[in-house]
């Protein structure tokens, strides 16, 4: 008998939790030397008790599957079919939908190309260091992103026109093409992958939101960093005169981009009518990408020796963490406008909501980062100090990278919470993904038909697909970064 202590658990495990089973399969493939028959006997029927459990659970699973199948082929899905666009993009004007598709395409080309290039860079890097590097195959990517792909496929299947099918197929084709092209680029081009991705993000935003105001500022900032990284590459180790150029050039270009874009003022689409899954994902990305730098600053500030800075950071973090997100949102929505002087335009509800989400996630991220900072041994700082590095460089190059690595699981946990917490913006009258469940059930056609089970299932699958993918990716990242650390 090849009886392992784990076997009893596995019988239950397979019967009840497909998710976990699939997750486990990613990590530990079945040994190829066991035949299916032997595997079943060893794992499911190896004792009387386990045989009974297997049979009972088997019957239960078959029963549930039959019920589910009956339900799937029933008429229940109309509510999703009718509201497909609502769930996906809310009230985004239907004749402006091209903006969403095109901004998504640009994003895919940018991110896909960048990821391909970065993977190739990582492989070169690993080869140079004589380390193992396992190139991701397309199958690996499928395994990593199947929840999101399955969700997209599911939603597309509700479409009643051919357009979404074409759109999704084009998107998939672009992913493949961009990643392949990014990989194939020559090394000097690949070295600029991050800049390329940043530019794609800006262009994608411009397609969606036009060029004026905040977009122009963000574009200016991106231009600044893109040029700064280029000049620091070019002028590495050179004299004071080129150092001046190295610091001036990014500023000049950044300001120029900001001015020109703001002046050109290409029309975009403001976000009064944003909604659905699009808004949910957007709010999450905003919360993460702006909350992260702010949170890091707060964490560093909290460890500052200057009482004013430390005091401010502690006060901010503890206040935000001590108050439910929903009350912050309500405050921003109903009370904040009253506090604005009449002459100053109050930002739109969604703008305020994004600010609240950013501040909220920053406070939590700050505490996570602080934990990571504390985990970095004092000796690391001392060794860097002893070599004459400035305090800022020690933070940036020695302490922070180690701190952030140590907190990846907690950080991704926070990101996942944020994804789900964005559903609270429904309370200030913004119809995001979750809210469309209630909205669609209140439509005359479906009112009183009790279709909530359908809509909430779809919503749950949607959140789950993204949250689970994030958590899988975080485990992958951890394993990857752990390589050189032991």
């Amino acid at each position: 008998m090849t009886d392992t202590p784990k076997t009893a658990g596995e019988g239950v495990y397979l019967g009840t939790d497909i998710t976990l089973a699939l997750a486990a399969r990613d990590e530990a493939p079945l040994h190829s030397d066991t035949t299916p028959g032997k595997w079943v006997k060893d794992n499911l029927f190896n004792s009387v008790m386990n045989s009974i459990i297997t049979v009972v659970l088997g019957v239960a699973v078959i029963f549930l599957l039959t019920r589910a199948a009956q339900w799937v082929i029933s008429e229940e899905w109309r509510i999703i079919q009718v509201n497909l666009r609502n769930f996906m993009v809310g009230q985004f004007p239907r004749d402006e939908l091209w903006r969403l598709w095109w901004s998504a395409y640009v994003l895919i080309v940018g991110i896909g190309g960048g990821v391909g290039a970065l993977a190739h860079n990582a492989e070169d890097d690993a080869r140079e260091k004589g380390l193992e590097y396992k190139r991701s195959s397309w199958l690996d990517l499928l395994r990593r992103f199947w929840p999101v792909l399955a969700f997209v496929a599911l939603m597309t299947s509700f479409a009643r026109t051919w357009l979404p099918y074409v759109g999704v197929l084009v998107a998939l084709a672009l992913v493949v093409a961009a990643r392949t092209a990014g990989w194939a680029m020559p090394a000097p081009v690949r070295a600029r992958a991050v800049q390329f991705m940043a530019v794609a993000i800006v262009v994608s935003t411009v397609i969606l939101a036009g060029t004026s105001g905040l977009v122009a500022i963000v574009a200016g900032l991106v231009a600044y960093f893109a040029v700064a990284s280029e000049t620091s590459r070019r002028f590495e180790g050179s004299d004071a005169r080129s150092t001046l150029l190295r610091q001036l050039a990014p500023i000049v270009v950044g300001v120029a981009v900001w001015f020109v874009l703001d002046a050109v003022a290409v029309d975009g689409f403001g976000w009064e009518d944003w909604g659905g899954l699009h808004l949910t994902l957007f709010a999450t990305v905003v919360g993460i990408s702006t909350g992260m730098p702010l949170g890091i600053l707060l964490a560093v500030g909290r460890r500052s020796e200057l009482p004013v800075i430390k005091g401010f950071c502690v006060l901010f973090i503890e206040f935000v963490r001590g108050v439910p997100l929903i009350s912050l949102l309500l405050f921003s929505s109903f009370i904040l406008p009253l506090l604005f002087p009449l002459s100053v335009a109050v930002p739109e509800t969604l703008t305020r909501a994004m600010i609240v989400i950013t501040l909220f996630s920053a406070a939590y991220i700050a505490e996570i980062v602080r934990g990571g900072l504390q985990a970095v041994p004092q000796g690391q700082t001392e060794a860097a100090q002893a070599s004459g590095m400035s305090a800022a460089k020690i933070q940036r190059l020695i302490v922070m990278p180690q701190a952030l690595r140590a907190v990846i699981p907690a950080m991704v946990g926070q990101f996942i919470s944020l994804l789900k917490d964005t559903s609270l913006i429904a309370t200030i009258g913004v119809a995001e993904f979750f809210q469309y469940s209630a909205i669609s059930n209140a439509q005359p056609e479906f009112l009183g038909k009790e279709k909530q089970i359908v809509t909430y299932s779809i919503v749950a699958i949607g959140y789950w697909a993204f949250a689970y993918t994030m958590s899988k990716e975080s485990r992958r990242l951890e394993a990857q970064l752990g390589v050189g650390e032991r």
């Binding site: 002893a386 070599s387 650390e485």
Partner: protein, 260 residues
């Protein structure tokens, strides 16, 4: 006076003819109300190797950590290579650039490769171009006899190899002096020799060094002077021969009888 004493309590007398690289005058260090260093007077000349010994808690680490301002001394003056240590950040950094330090627990940066560990400070502090910094790092790795480990991460190296990388890292900034704080105390016995050999060859090449160590063999062979500390004070100073053969102070005798 023809017969200069070779064992006394004066650590300001430089062995040989080098100009002083480090000068401590009347240095006191307090941790709260606990006095860790009391009236330290010491000079270290160019190309001199000074070994500091003493019981645990006697202030050896504190002494060398005050020299590069990892600890802030409370009274007295510290001069490194003609620069007087003050509270000015730029002044502190100038001194740190002139002093290398090797720690008991290596303190290599685990997220950077060996090569990056060594090139980091030259590139970030002195703005040396990458290629040049790496060339120099490879020379240093040859010198500590592990050039083949350049692309690995510290976690993939043995303790002895890590400490040799740490020595190479401290050399990368071309320091005037290197401070060693018990560099072999965290090592398995079979690795101590490789690190000591590295330190010996450094000494032979004329590097100015202050070594806190319990390796008496090393002290005997390499030190120009041995400084014995107890309770935050310098108790006795002398050449290794006289120090180990005819220590004058009772506490020195007691300490040496315990560890030899």
């Amino acid at each position: 006076m023809t017969d200069t004493p070779t064992v006394n309590a004066d650590a300001t007398e430089i062995h040989g003819d080098g100009r002083p690289v480090i000068e401590l005058t009347g240095v006191d260090k307090l941790f709260g109300s606990f006095q860790a260093l009391t009236n330290i007077n010491m000079r270290v000349g160019e190309r001199e190797v000074v070994v500091v010994i003493g019981p645990s808690g006697s202030g050896k680490s504190t002494l060398i950590r005050c020299i590069n301002r990892l600890e802030k001394h409370d009274r007295g003056t510290i001069i490194v290579d003609g620069i007087t240590l003050s509270n000015d950040v730029r002044n502190i950094q100038e001194i740190r650039r002139e002093t290398g330090m090797v720690f008991q627990s290596f303190n290599l940066f685990p997220h950077l490769t060996v090569l990056d560990n060594i090139t980091l400070a030259p590139r970030q502090v002195r703005n040396v171009p990458k290629g040049e910094a790496e060339e120099r790092a490879m020379e240093l790795l040859e010198r500590v006899k592990i050039p083949e480990q350049a692309r690995k991460y510290p976690g993939q190296l043995s303790g002895g190899q890590q400490q040799r990388v740490a020595i190479a890292r401290s050399l990368a900034m071309n320091p005037k002096v290197i401070l060693f704080d018990e560099p072999t105390s965290a090592l398995d016995p079979e690795m101590i020799k490789e690190v000591l050999d590295t330190m010996k060859s450094l000494a032979n090449e004329g590097m100015t060094m202050i070594c806190v160590t319990h390796e008496m063999g090393f002290a005997r062979e390499v030190a120009d002077r041995v400084v014995f500390m107890a309770d935050g004070q310098i108790v006795e100073v002398g050449t290794p021969e006289h120090f180990f053969e005819s220590p004058r102070e009772e506490r020195t005798q007691l300490f040496l009888s315990q560890i030899l």
